[in-house]
Structure formats: structure tokens, C-alpha cells
Symmetry: C2
Subunit: 414 residues, 2 copies
């Protein structure tokens, strides 16, 4: 756990080039000979003010890797947890966040096969995705279908692979089953809804904030307000409960989710976004919420015939060495994409310099589908009410999240 | 929990006909007009001395039921837990134990279809199986293949359905996976081993007491002694761990089992036999072991990509209303039986009057495969060293388990 996060900010602050972002024209953003590249840098764990765009040495190709000229990057809830240091064993800042991107192969390591310069690809990266250039082992790289845009590709990999593996590898979704998905409007939620529609007669119960309902109503069978008593509503429709609960929240919802399960049903915890929102911002409040997670008695599972699972795609890839299984899943997903049965939902595109506003949007649960960092996008001018640039604001003091409201940029809605 | 078990013994003792078992010839054990039948009666929760064979009123057929003339009954570890009152919400003694039997349909309730008088069947019963006649809803009754013996049928239902559902419904066993099964020599263990052999390239790690190894070596890929450091041995063979752990034990083994799981692996707790053996005989020691079961943190499952499940076939049938799913599973299993891909392993046959010795054998983990109560079997004469009948011994004082050694009957090994 990132105990040292807050303390390390000062000592790493000097490493950040404060001029970057003001002069993006100076940066060579294409061509193979540049030694430096633009990247989003997290200077230390904490609030939005720990993020900025800076020049950074270009990564060097290692054996078995490809170098990708990045076009688009995916922004996930996990990135907010990383920013706050709210993950197990985070790397030492300063670091470049980001776990997925799409782009064009720029070079391939010697004796490394499967890809050629110019290939359009999407890739998982173990940090360092939010940059103009990324190096990653070929095991984590997948060719994009011709008709897929770079933004779609960056919205595809993590969300659809996670959704697919939870539904079909962990929970064994079959005809006639029912699925409850929290955050139905988010990237994984929308992927889950689409994948459920590929199986006959699957009922999807979605939970989302009220303001998203109009936009996502057609993607699920039943939609409930996050703040309503959805337990009661679901029990009315399906008195036996549901077969699969996908929960990216954490805390009281775990007990609720288990209660809603049918016998032989599977509850999957795939994230812990409650740890980021609300009052759980400091390390100590995080640790408190961690320890208070309701533990599960295996004998209760035995009596009730229930299954509880945890799923972390990034651990599966980068800690547990399951990249060949993920490759198989990706192949199946690309088939479904080519058959036009699934299509990633992109919420909005943001320049690297707009990463704070993008994070604020996902933090506020404002998004419907995926937020994308578009590496080639020019930052949208700030709204008229603003007097300072967001990326320079609040550098010296802890910046409370949410006070960016008055200087919000307009996202580029896809 | 059965707090009142011990206290109730005295008040129920008078209900037991102490002469039964001495005069089995007086009982009309066939023909439709008899008003009474022989049955094993549990007078109160406790040791073996709480069991005896007695006359009891014949059950009356209810709507939707069939009446079965019982030929053979299955004896399971769960029956020992019932005897001790070590289950949740046990019924009030005196009661007739037993959850499965095979026999011949003797009558069918009005407006009830699917079975005819004379059909050879196997059935689940919610208690009351260990008797000459049983009534149970048709939902829990399955026709036997012609070549299946009654003993095989009584050994088939619970063990194979449980093994199948755990491997294929809960854990999704596929080609190339590995399975660890505790109590590999028991009824479920042998069913698991056989079912695994129906899937290509599945590795089965079995754990069993040393003295069983010669008998069951061919049924599993790797066999380990219960008292050896099997964790180390398995890690040597399969450093990544195993895909499925089936654990009928409880307590320290839960942690061990979870540790041995591969990422995306499934640990299934399907019983709690440690609660019966050893020192956990009284209610209080039971409660202690119950509460000390290691609870599982869902966030640890998330980090490690692991699945934990509980499975209780009887709860699934009698509490959770899943009999149509079980029927589907039984159909698949009978196909496999007819194709000679699976065959129940019967350890030994015992007369109803020998139920104490049979229970002692399963308690001592002496069995390889299933123990069967053969309703038509005459008790085997006691061995030469005995002077009293076991079924009459120790009625007035608490009888320590295991002191039957000196008056053991020879089981009829199948």
C-alpha cells in the first residue's frame, strides 16, 4: 500500500517539466528519431494536481516487445485508484499511468514475430500507456479489425475482455440466465450488456444514476436508479434472485449482491470503485474501507449453494501470466465485433492535457461508456468562465476533487 | 443448531421399541397390507447408541408422491453429522435418517404421472430413507437402468450428482484442467475421479489415507497421503497450482485449498467432515469449529483471481427447489453409466441392524467407495470375540465412538 505516496510528492516535484503543455508545438510527436515524447506524469499519489503532461525519454524496445506510436488510450476507474495510491503494491511515482492503448507499430524487437511495422494494434501495458510511444511485449498486443477506429480500440480491450471473461470464464453464462450489473452505464457495464445480448433469453438488470437512464435504457432489460431500493425491485421481478451479480463497487453492496443470488449463482467482485469516491480519499480512509469489507464464511456459501469470485484482468495479465488465455478471448471478441454483435461505446475524447477533466468526469460517474485520451487531439479551449488553465491550478496546495467544476472544459462527445 | 439434542434423548427413549432387531421374522417386510415397517430410528442426537432398528408406522402416500419398497440405502458422511445434531436446523428426534435409497415402486399417488408400480427406481428423500418403505415426491425419483443393481443405485444418486454438478455446473471442468480431491477414496471422491476421466487430459490429484492407496491408485493421476505435506508435492508437479479444489473437509484445509488454486481456479467446499471426526463431537466443540472457519476476504479473491463456492446437493434439492436441474444432470449421468464410462463403487453392504458398525466404518474413514444399507440383508453374526450384540450395547451411558472395535462385525465387502 502506498503509505509513502503523500510524502514523496515534494521530492519528485522537481522532476516535472512545468512548461510542458504550454508549448506542445515544440514536441516532435511523430517521426522515429525523437528522443523524447509527451506523456501524462503522476508526480505522486494524491489529487488531480499530481497529474501533468511532460516530456519524457522515449522508451527503448526490449526483447519480445513492439514499439507502438499511440493514437488513443483508455481511461479506467482503476487509474483513479492508482492516482490515489489505493492499490496493492503501486510502483514508485513519478510514473506514467495507463494500462491500455491503440496505435500503429513503429518497430519490432529482433527475433520477435507476429507483427510488422505499420500494423494497427491495440495493447495492454503494465503502466506507461498514457504517452505518445509505448513499448510492450507482443503477448499483450492484438491486431485491430480494419473498420475499428483507434478510439474504439482503446475502448475495447480492457472492458470487453473483462466482461467476457467474467460472464463466460468465471460465471458460465447460459441461455435463460439473469445478470445484475452495477454501473451499467460504464465501459464494462455496456460491454456486459452487449455480450449478454449474444446469448438467447438473458435478462440484464442494470443499475445506474438516473440521468443516464434515457441513454442506456435500450441496452438492458430492467434499469434501476442507484439510489433506489433496487433489491426490492429486482425481487419483485425475479423472486428467486439472479444468476450472476457483477459488482465493481465494494462494501455494503457485497452483502446485497450475495443476498440477491439464486442458488448456484455467482457473485463477481471486479473492482472497488467505492474506495475512490466519496470520503475514501486518503490512505487511512481507504485502509478503513478495505478492512471493513464484509468477509464471507465458506460454510454460508455451502448452505446457500453460492459462488463468490474476484476478477482482476490486469493481475491476470501482468501477475498471473494468463496472456494466452486472454488472447483466445480476444479472438472470440473480435469475431463478435466483425459480426457487428458488439461495439465499444465511447463516451468522450480528451487531449492528454485534459486528463484531469476526464478523471473528474469518471469520478463523478458522468460517463456513458468509455473515456478516451486522444493523443493527437488539441486541448479544447476552456469555457468562458475560466481564468486559469486547469493543468496549472492548485499545484501548491492539496486540491479538493470536484472544485474544477467552475473551469470545466467541454468534452468532445463521441 | 441442535442445542436440545442431548437433553431430548431421555424423553424420547421410551418411544423406541427395544425388542426390534431380535425378532426380525415377525415383521412383514413385503406385501401391501402391513401397517408397520422396520426402520432405523435416531432417538436423539449423540453417539452410536442413539441408533436402533424399530417398527414404525408405514408412511402414507401424499399427492405427487410415489411409495417405494426400499431395497438399498446410501450412507453418507452427512448422516453422521445428522446423528450428532451437527447441522443447521435439524428436525426434532426421534427421526429416521437417510437421504437416498433405491427400490421398487409400490404405489403412485392419484394424478401423478411418470412412474408405474413395479418400476425400479432410485430416489432422494428428505430424511426417512433408512426404512423398508419410503414416500417421496416424483421430482426426486429416477428410473434405474436395467443392468444397475439396487446397491449400485443407492451408491449412485448423491455421489455422482454432487460430483457432476461441482465439476461441470459450478467449476466448468474442461480439457487439460487439473482437479484436487480430498477423500479420494470416498464415494464422492471416486465419482469425481471417474467423471474427470470422461474429459480429455484432466489431471486428478487425490488425497487419501495410506492404506487405501493400493485400491484406488488407478483411479487418480497422483495420490498423496493425507498426513504428508501434499501441498509441497502438488506444487512440485504443478507449480502453478490446480484449477479445481474439491474439499469435503473444513477448517485449515480451506486456506490450503485456496493457496493451491491457479488464477481463475475454483475452490468448492462441499462438506464439513472435520466437524464429525476427532474431538468435535459435542455441540460446543462443533460450534467452536464452525466459528473458527477461516472467512474469506472478497478483495483477496479479486487480487488473486480466485473463486470460492459452496455446494450442498441436499439443500439444492430440498431447500432451493432445483430438482429439474438435478433431473437434467441425472439424465446425463445415466447416459454415461449406460456407456459404461462411470460405475458406482460400493464399499460394503450392511443390514439395517448393522448401521452402527457401518457408521463406525465411515467415521474411521475405512471405506473405499460407498457404504450401503441393504434392507433385505440378514445381520452378519458377530465375530467370535464378542459376547453381546452391538445394537444393544451401551444404551444407558454415553458410548465413546471407537470402542466397538472389539465387537466388530465383518462387513459384506462388495
Amino acid at each position: 500500500m502506498a503509505k509513502e505516496g503523500a510524502d514523496m510528492t515534494e521530492e519528485t516535484e522537481f522532476m516535472i517539466d512545468k512548461n510542458v503543455g504550454k508549448e506542445p508545438d515544440n514536441v516532435e510527436s511523430s517521426g522515429g528519431d525523437a528522443k523524447e515524447m509527451r506523456a501524462v506524469i503522476l508526480a505522486g499519489f494524491g489529487g488531480l494536481n499530481k497529474l501533468r503532461v511532460s516530456k519524457k525519454a522515449m522508451p527503448e524496445l526490449q526483447g519480445g516487445e513492439v514499439k507502438i506510436r499511440v493514437k488513443a488510450c483508455g481511461l479506467n476507474f482503476l487509474d483513479l485508484m492508482v492516482r490515489q495510491g489505493n492499490i496493492d503494491n503501486p510502483p514508485k511515482p513519478p510514473l506514467v499511468p495507463g494500462f491500455e492503448c491503440s496505435g500503429i507499430i513503429e518497430s519490432v524487437a529482433e527475433n520477435t514475430t507476429g507483427f510488422e511495422i505499420g500494423d494497427r494494434v491495440m495493447a495492454f501495458v503494465n503502466y506507461n500507456a498514457w504517452a505518445e510511444v509505448v513499448c510492450t511485449p507482443v503477448d499483450f498486443v492484438y491486431k485491430m479489425p480494419d473498420e475499428m477506429t483507434f478510439a474504439e480500440a482503446a475502448a475495447f480491450s480492457l472492458n470487453f475482455v473483462a466482461a467476457y471473461m467474467m460472464l463466460f470464464e468465471v460465471a458460465n453464462l447460459r441461455e435463460g440466465m439473469s445478470v445484475l450489473v452495477h454501473s451499467a452505464g460504464g465501459g464494462v457495464g455496456q460491454a456486459v450488456a452487449q455480450l449478454c445480448s449474444t446469448v438467447p433469453n438473458v435478462t440484464v438488470f442494470g443499475i445506474a444514476s438516473c440521468f443516464k437512464h434515457a441513454a442506456i435504457r435500450d441496452s438492458v432489460t430492467h434499469l434501476f436508479d442507484r439510489n433506489a431500493d433496487y433489491m426490492q425491485e429486482i425481487k419483485k421481478i425475479s423472486p428467486d434472485g439472479v444468476d450472476i451479480v457483477l459488482d465493481c463497487l465494494c462494501g455494503e453492496n457485497t452483502g446485497k449482491g450475495l443476498t440477491l443470488l439464486k442458488p448456484l449463482g455467482t457473485y463477481i467482485l471486479y473492482g472497488a470503485s467505492n474506495m475512490v469516491t466519496g470520503e475514501t480519499k486518503s490512505f487511512f480512509s481507504f485502509a478503513k474501507s478495505w478492512w471493513q469489507v464484509e468477509k464471507v464464511n465458506p460454510i454460508k456459501l455451502y448452505e446457500e449453494n453460492k459462488v463468490i469470485a474476484g476478477f482482476s484482468l490486469l493481475n491476470l495479465l501482468f501477475k498471473h501470466g494468463k496472456c494466452s488465455l486472454v488472447k483466445t478471448v480476444m479472438d472470440k471478441l473480435l469475431c463478435l465485433y466483425n459480426q457487428k454483435k458488439i461495439k465499444p461505446v465511447v463516451d468522450s475524447l480528451w487531449a492528454l492535457e485534459e486528463v484531469k477533466e476526464a478523471m473528474q468526469r469518471i469520478h463523478d460517474r458522468g460517463n456513458i461508456g468509455k473515456l478516451i485520451l486522444d493523443v493527437e487531439k488539441t486541448p479544447t479551449p476552456l469555457m468562458a468562465s475560466d481564468s486559469t488553465e486547469t493543468s496549472e491550478a492548485g499545484e501548491e496546495e492539496e486540491e479538493p476533487e470536484g472544485d474544477n467544476d467552475s473551469k470545466e472544459r467541454m468534452p468532445f462527445i463521441h
